[in-house]
């Protein structure tokens, strides 16, 4: 399957990736290759096969409505790239 430049840019935008223009050609080729390879699956007749939703055969894995565990704020914030003593800090997002 051929991928065009617009699709590549759209994908990059959705994934919040910056593409180096000098790499564009290589990216296009490599994406097309992957898709062509995956396309092979289309040859299979799946008319009578239910779509796979989950990797396990587990059904109705519920939990009871109980507060059993909370992460102390300090620990929760510790792994964040930026934080103060109460909040996670992110680059300004304007609606």
């Amino acid at each position: 399957m051929k991928i065009d430049k617009d699709t590549l840019h759209k994908l990059a935008h959705l994934a919040r990736l910056e593409l180096d223009p000098s790499n564009e050609k290589e990216m296009l080729n490599s994406l097309s290759e992957i898709l062509t390879w995956v396309e092979k699956l289309n040859e299979l007749d799946t008319k009578d096969v239910d779509p796979l939703v989950s990797m396990s055969y587990e059904l109705n894995a519920f939990r009871e409505d109980k507060v059993t565990e909370e992460l102390p704020r300090e620990e929760g914030l510790a792994n964040a790239p930026r934080h103060d003593d109460k909040f996670f800090i992110v680059p300004k997002v304007i609606e």
Partner: protein, 484 residues
Amino acid sequence: MSDLKDKNSFEAVIGLEVHVQLQTKSKVFSPDANKFGSEPNQHIHVISLGHPGSMPKLNKKALEYAIEMGLACHSEIGRYNFFDRKNYFYPDLPKGYQVTQDKTPICKGGYVEIGFDTNTPKKIMLHKIHMEEDAGKLMHVDGKDISAVDYNRAGVPLIEIVTDPMITSSQDAGAFLTEIRKMVRFLGISDGHMEEGSLRCDANVSIRKKGVTTLGNKVEVKNLNSIRYVQKAIEVEIERQTNLTLQGKKIISETRLFDPEKNQTYGMRMKEELNDYRYFPEPDLAPFVVDDTMLDDIRKKMAKLPRQYYDDFTQKYGLPAYDALVITEKRDFAHLFEETVAHTTCYKQVSNWLMGPIKSYLKENGTSLRKLSLTGAMLADLVNLVEKGTVSYTVACQNIFPEVIKTGKAPHDIAHDMNLVQESDSDVLMPVIKEVLAQNADKVAMYKSGKKGLLGMFMGEVMKKTNGKADPKLTNQLLVESLA
């Protein structure tokens, strides 16, 4: 004139999306607390923070609550369900996606009836109700290039109720929301506080020429945190779209925010022009099946709905529609009415007490029915005391009722203890009346010569001498007889 005629040739088509936070103890997929108003990031967990490798699990209570709402709305309950990921990058959810139900909403179809107290009840048809997780809260700091994020709300269970685009006026939209709020409160699945965000509403508004069956371009209006604002926003949006159309301009499909102070909507500058959520089944959560046993169990546990109380109150107890509507506004009132009429047959009087003295007492004292020790048996006792003529209504209201609230004692005990029982024995009342008339011989003469208005003055004297306990009806009758 022609302007008005042109405006009237359009009709509005409104669809509502209502988000309801479910009041579970813990979050929908993780064991941290679902609690409003705490310090920021107090209720977090590796799952709600989206740490790699953490595995979500569905809170059974959240599912039951969602099904309760579906049953209350006459929806079809989905039997085989799974969750989907709605992919987007925004720091209100750290995972990069929101877990929601795209393919298999837990409830399909259904309706909510509004205006059932009028001659023109309407069914607002639902498209679906689905479950999803709430996102965290972003705080934008003025003048700084950063935003602060609080994840206490991330992962709070939500249901989203989506109506068909079939609402035609702001009044109907308001009535629908009011009914939804009552329903979730009666069911006990949400506190329904719009100002705290536990009930949120977006309105999709479009207009079209009357008689046209296709839909016009829709505008989604957000930021509506009260029912009044929802109604206002719809009204100004219809007005704006109508004016644009009359000027020959096109309506752009967009998201607009409502500014209650300026009473207008304004377009959001959308940073992202393309919304491509790339939904796919959430592989970390097991699919789930709702079987008949589970549905039956939920049906049995479900609380009575405001509409069911309304029907009972009007049909079984013969209350006027207005009374039934007022009493079914709040769950505690409906409960107390039902509890009380188990002990008395004076249904209308019970309703009068609830809408009159009790409601004003709660308002004056800034309290709620739940905080009072007033039981149905006590209220029935009070109503019966007045009905039997043991005490007057005024005494019951002003003396006994406050004492019942204060002490929690039975009204008939209070009546006796405080010596408030009405004097209804003519053998006791007659000597007092004779005494009053003897002391006021001149007034008696005036009465007999035609000044009938003096009866009230004699009445007042008898009341004084009996400390207000004389049965007014009997005293009146005895006075008229004595003066004849």
